[in-house]
Symmetry: C2
Subunit: 356 residues, 2 copies
């Protein structure tokens, strides 16, 4: 087994945690007997932009298409490049042009992670957020009337296609069907967003009829965020549009202690294009350069990538090592009320991985 992986650290703490993820990947290759061909790229970062005036080289598709997966850190450095420029010029372009229409994000309360919710134990919270990743509210369609005047009007279009909605729902229902609870929750806002969201509801109903064994319910996004805090044990698979999935997949990890440990997969399920793996957290300019970022999100991301590539045993071994490491207060970073540096926290996971 031999995998070609593009490594794109990006900006801020992306540059600090990606190398730690790579160490785990390399240890896993050695222990489980597969080969990794890692191709390191500096593009996709605002440094690259400062030099070249674009986030990516013109031939980025040629460079990345032949890879088996993309191991991504985080992009964004608003002090020098506006976020919408850096993100639409990199991550959001990958998602769209590589048709990574599934954004899959586990939400799990891990042993050893102090939970911000009162009285919750590991095992109580364990679900997936399935986020549509290519259309919806993240459109680049729209514009401005009367720019710069008192009469200024700015319009942006949310676009949902049957193609786009049905395929993400199918993925989510399949996932729900494969799990013991077989329960799917749809995030909607059809009472207020009165054109696209009733359409979303209608497609959920239609798809649901093909999965009679999957129990389904729906909540408006406002009260759904409330339930994440009040009843997180209620969920199994939660499916949402691009924006709602984005919100829920930060909120979910926050409810389980920190977004610093949460991984995500941007998947092209058909395998026509490489899938992209990144932690849920961003480039975090406020703590960048200090060596205190939590590397666990990036390391768990490495596990998700290996699972996707078929290295299931290696993936499980990494997650088990994360659990072992997190039990030790000394290996927790600041976001987990610990004092470990990025390097120390990653060392602890590596030690647990080697020892298992």
């Amino acid at each position: 087994r031999h995998y070609r992986i593009a490594v794109i650290p990006g900006d801020g703490i992306g540059k600090e945690v990606v190398p730690e993820g790579v160490r785990l990947l390399e240890a896993a290759a050695e222990k489980f007997g597969f080969r990794l061909d890692l191709q390191h790229h500096t593009f996709g970062s605002c440094d690259y932009y400062a030099e070249h005036g674009t986030m990516l080289p013109a031939n980025w598709k040629e460079l990345l298409t032949p890879t088996d997966a993309i191991f991504f850190g985080a992009v964004g450095w608003p002090a020098t490049v506006p976020d919408h420029v850096s993100l639409w010029g990199s991550l959001l372009q990958f998602r769209r042009e590589f048709d990574q229409y599934v954004n899959l994000r586990p939400v799990r309360l891990m042993p050893g992670v102090p939970c911000p919710l009162a009285g919750r134990e590991p095992g109580d919270i364990d679900f997936y957020v399935v986020r549509e990743n290519t259309e919806g509210e993240y459109s680049s369609v729209g514009g401005t009337m009367y720019p710069g005047t008192e009469r200024e009007i700015v319009i942006q279009e949310t676009v949902m296609s049957r193609h786009g909605v049905d395929r993400i729902l199918k993925f989510a229902f399949d996932l729900a069907q494969s799990r013991p609870k077989k329960h799917l929750t749809s995030a909607t806002k059809s009472n207020g967003i009165a054109i696209t969201m009733p359409y979303w509801d209608q497609r959920v109903e239609a798809m649901g009829e093909r999965y009679p064994d999957v129990r389904r319910d729906k909540y408006h996004i406002d009260i759904l965020t409330a339930h994440f805090v009040l009843n997180p044990d209620r969920f199994d698979v939660v499916v949402g549009s691009n924006l709602f999935g984005d919100i829920l997949s930060d909120l979910g990890p926050a409810c389980t202690g920190t977004i610093g440990i949460a991984p995500s997969a941007n998947i092209n399920p058909e395998g026509r294009f490489p899938s992209l793996f990144e932690p849920v957290h961003g480039s975090a300019p406020d703590i960048a350069g200090k060596g205190i970022a939590n590397p666990v999100g990036q390391i768990w991301t490495a596990a998700m990538m290996l699972e996707h590539l078929g290295e299931v045993d290696a993936a499980h071994a990494i997650v088990a090592a994360i659990e072992t490491a997190l039990r030790e207060p000394a290996s927790r970073t600041r976001d987990l009320k610990g004092t470990a540096t990025t390097r120390e926290a990653a060392d602890a996971v590596l030690r647990a991985f080697a020892a298992a």
Copy 2:
């Protein structure tokens, strides 16, 4: 002092909690020496819709315009009328046609309310969500291409005007300036929603320059929801678009224990039209008819309405009575882990109000 108030209970638990709010209003009128002329309306409910085929009579504007305020319960009964029909036919129409462009929602951890967040005490959480209430993501502009086919495409437009954005920002900055912390947080998503949201950011910057004494920051909505859970003590005034404000003003009250106690004001600050006061919670079909809904949200709403009308002492006395009542486990409803009925919980507030 003499106030004309339209009373619209609406659907579900709206019909159960509005009478309790009215009891407090009447007690306050008697105690503080003002007169209330209450005009009860059955319209705005799905029962009315079943009979008339519309949510409101044709002359609703004539009926409501001369009032001093609207005391509203909750609308929605999806079993018989789709939510977007009932809401766009009532509440959302009031907000728009009465130009109630400010939706103001306090988030406060009350003594006696079990907090779902670990280790938080009353006093730790005390901020306002200021929500734009007339434009943005809640538009009725858009439509469907190729309906009913595989090629179906559904489009909905988010519309922001300088007029609409600037006036809500001005309200929020004024509010922040009037508070001791003088701190304004803007909810954005300019990294993903790349047309309207960068515009929002730009107007926040421009308005901020007129308030040099107000400290301002901004967070993307995804990480902002995480901070509501992890660092709720960080906020003072949080301003958001129609959708983001909607989400944050359910999530905030959930973080302080229950949305069952949270009030809200839909304000036309110029006073050209009546303002509308309603609890944050909805019609809650799942618990309707059982007499177990929490009346505190509606009662606190009564206090917000009186404050708006200038009856500040009466308003404060009601809030104080709520605090007293909530300290007693016996006067807490089920959402607060108590066993009190709607009526018992309201009785407790009334007793505290009378005794003070």
